[in-house]
């Protein structure tokens, strides 16, 4: 198991955002994390990526306990995330954002110089279909480009596992198709993916397995086709947008 989440609970004051949730992600696998708004999906991403600081339970990545590590340490081990609310680096150009990912990010195959990192960034931008906007300030990009830039920055960090928190939300139908193709291409590079998305269409085409959260509890976990054919529960799984 590449990522192993065991009995993770998170409490915000009186609110139990996650209650003893366990699941795993295998190498090279795409796992979908679904559930209505407020189910605790982003909280799970924050706990796994170290952004939360404290949680109960055990999270191991590549065989090492990562609970309590700084997010930068976790990224260095090869676990990189994107944000549901896109976090652009104001004042940096698209290529600089991605070069940053290449220069830091995972310790594996890290480029040894700034020009080498820039070279890698050019390749990743091309892969994400962003070559044309490489020189633009990243806060001037449109919604779809920003989403793909987030993914490109994470990819340049050479992750083993990438956490995509609603990386396709707010996009139109053709942009979503581009996004799906990009996620597929990432998996073909051997990178495991934990993807959060509301749309059944996205999950059906991408996920190998699906984990369903509702109000902080895990209510289903299984192969995508099984979970997705459970018609009665689809309404709960995907909230109102299904």
């Amino acid at each position: 198991m590449l990522l192993d989440v065991q009995d993770v609970s998170v409490q915000f004051g009186g609110l139990r955002a996650l209650n003893r949730v366990s699941f795993g992600v295998q190498e090279g696998e795409i796992v979908g994390l679904v559930g209505p708004n407020g189910a605790g999906k982003s909280t799970m991403v924050n706990a796994v990526s170290g952004a939360l600081g404290r949680h109960r339970g055990r999270i191991t990545f590549a065989g090492r306990d990562i609970s309590g590590l700084a997010p930068s340490r976790i990224a260095e081990m090869g676990l990189v995330r994107t944000f549901q609310l896109v976090q652009p680096f104001r004042g940096l150009t698209a290529i600089e954002c991605v070069t940053l990912g290449a220069l830091y990010g995972s310790g594996n195959d890290r480029p040894t110089s700034v020009p080498a990192a820039r070279h890698l960034a050019e390749q990743v931008l091309d892969f994400a279909g962003l070559s044309a906007v490489a020189g633009l300030a990243c806060d001037t990009l449109n919604a779809s480009q920003r989403r793909r830039l987030e993914i490109a920055r994470a990819l340049a960090a050479r992750p083993k596992l990438i956490l995509l928190d609603e990386c396709l939300s707010g996009l139109n139908s053709s942009e979503i198709d581009q996004g799906i193709a990009l996620v597929r291409a990432i998996r073909e590079r051997g990178i495991a993916i934990l993807i959060i998305e509301h749309m059944v269409r996205v999950m059906a085409t991408l996920a190998d397995r699906i984990v369903v959260l509702d109000r902080g509890e895990k209510i289903a976990d299984g192969p995508a086709d099984e979970v997705l054919t459970d018609r009665r529960a689809l309404g709960i799984y995907f909230g109102t947008t299904a």
Binding site: V80, Q87, G101
Partner: protein
């Protein structure tokens, strides 16, 4: 090699920006090397103080400009550098090693309190650094057995005439100024610099991308402290007398802050431009409008901040392409 070949080879390569800045820096240093033979003692002193302020402003720029942490109290390192160096000189050390007695405690202090203070952001960090300066300056004033207290500390005169001393100070600050340019280029173009700029832009996303933010911030502050402390040490040697109210003076920090903002935050040459502009304005106002000079200075600062929000270097960068195109069309 022809200029066009050079441009083809370096003009667009991965290090183009670095090489351009290095070239500008070399030209500047060459000018600074020949300039003293044309200057009177008065102008030499003025230029020396411009260089000193440009260095202090670069120290401020390193933290407030590149990393985005307004280290208002940075003058504390100037004071520590001045006292450490002065005490070492008084104990018989030559200037070179004596500067280390100022720089090492200053860098050490930044590294020691950085991991604590750099958890604060924005105004809170700024205020905490002010507190740090108050504490250290109170220590310097009260440890009178060591520092001479509020009465200050006098240094033995160096060899030679007043002109020789001015020359030595000039050479010292010009050398340190070159180092400050290298620091600026490093903070802009290196891997470490990418980390700094990512922190300024979005610290949470930087950390998530793998930038060890607390470590990067602390090291950047240490570099800023080292530069500022060596400036303090050279200043102590230059003026020969220091007291807490002189070298821990917040007015120095304020000036440095205005200068780097004016020249262009997070740029390599901004601090020099800011120091030149402010010092010329002050000198002019001082000589012609003695009573009003503070007013003139204040109004200048406000106008410039309103009209040049991204500093002089940003202003030039914004308008240079249009100007260049017009010039080309004309010729």
């Amino acid at each position: 090699m022809a200029a066009s070949t050079l441009r083809a080879r370096w003009g667009s390569g991965p290090w183009a920006g670095t090489l351009r800045s290095a070239a500008i820096g070399c030209v500047l240093m060459a000018i600074l090397m020949v300039l003293p033979s044309f200057l009177s003692l008065y102008w030499l002193r003025l230029l020396t103080s411009v260089l000193m302020l440009a260095v202090i402003a670069q120290g401020m720029n390193a933290m407030a400009g590149f990393v985005g942490y307004p280290a208002f109290g940075n003058v504390v390192f100037f004071g520590i550098g001045a006292y450490g160096t002065a005490l070492a000189i008084a104990a018989g050390f030559a200037l070179g090693p004596a500067l280390l007695f100022g720089a090492i405690p200053a860098g050490g202090l930044a590294l020691a309190v950085g991991p604590l203070l750099l958890r604060l952001r924005g105004h809170y960090f700024a205020i905490a650094t002010l507190g740090l300066n108050e504490v250290v300056s109170a220590l310097a004033a009260n440890l009178s057995g060591l520092t001479g207290g509020a009465a200050g500390l006098s240094l033995p005169l160096g060899a030679g005439t007043a002109g020789d001393a001015a020359q030595r100070a000039y050479v010292g600050f010009a050398t340190l100024f070159a180092a400050s340019l290298l620091l600026g280029i490093f903070l802009r173009d290196s891997r470490f610099g990418y980390g700094c700029r990512a922190i300024r832009s979005n610290e949470e996303a930087a950390e998530a991308t793998g930038v060890p933010t607390l470590r990067v911030k602390s090291i950047a502050w240490m570099l800023s402290a080292l530069l500022t402390a060596v400036a303090g040490g050279l200043y102590a040697r230059w003026v020969g007398f220091i007291e807490p109210s002189l070298v821990f003076d917040m007015a120095i920090s304020v000036k440095a802050f205005v200068m780097f903002l004016l020249g262009g935050a997070g740029t390599v040459f901004g601090p020099l431009i800011g120091a030149l502009l402010i010092e010329s304005a002050t000198t002019l106002a001082w000589s012609h409008l003695l009573k009003l000079h503070l007013l003139v200075l204040g109004v200048t600062i406000m106008l410039v901040v309103l009209l040049l929000p991204d500093g002089a270097q940003g202003f030039v960068a914004r308008h240079w392409p249009t100007v260049r195109d017009r010039l080309r069309r004309r010729s």
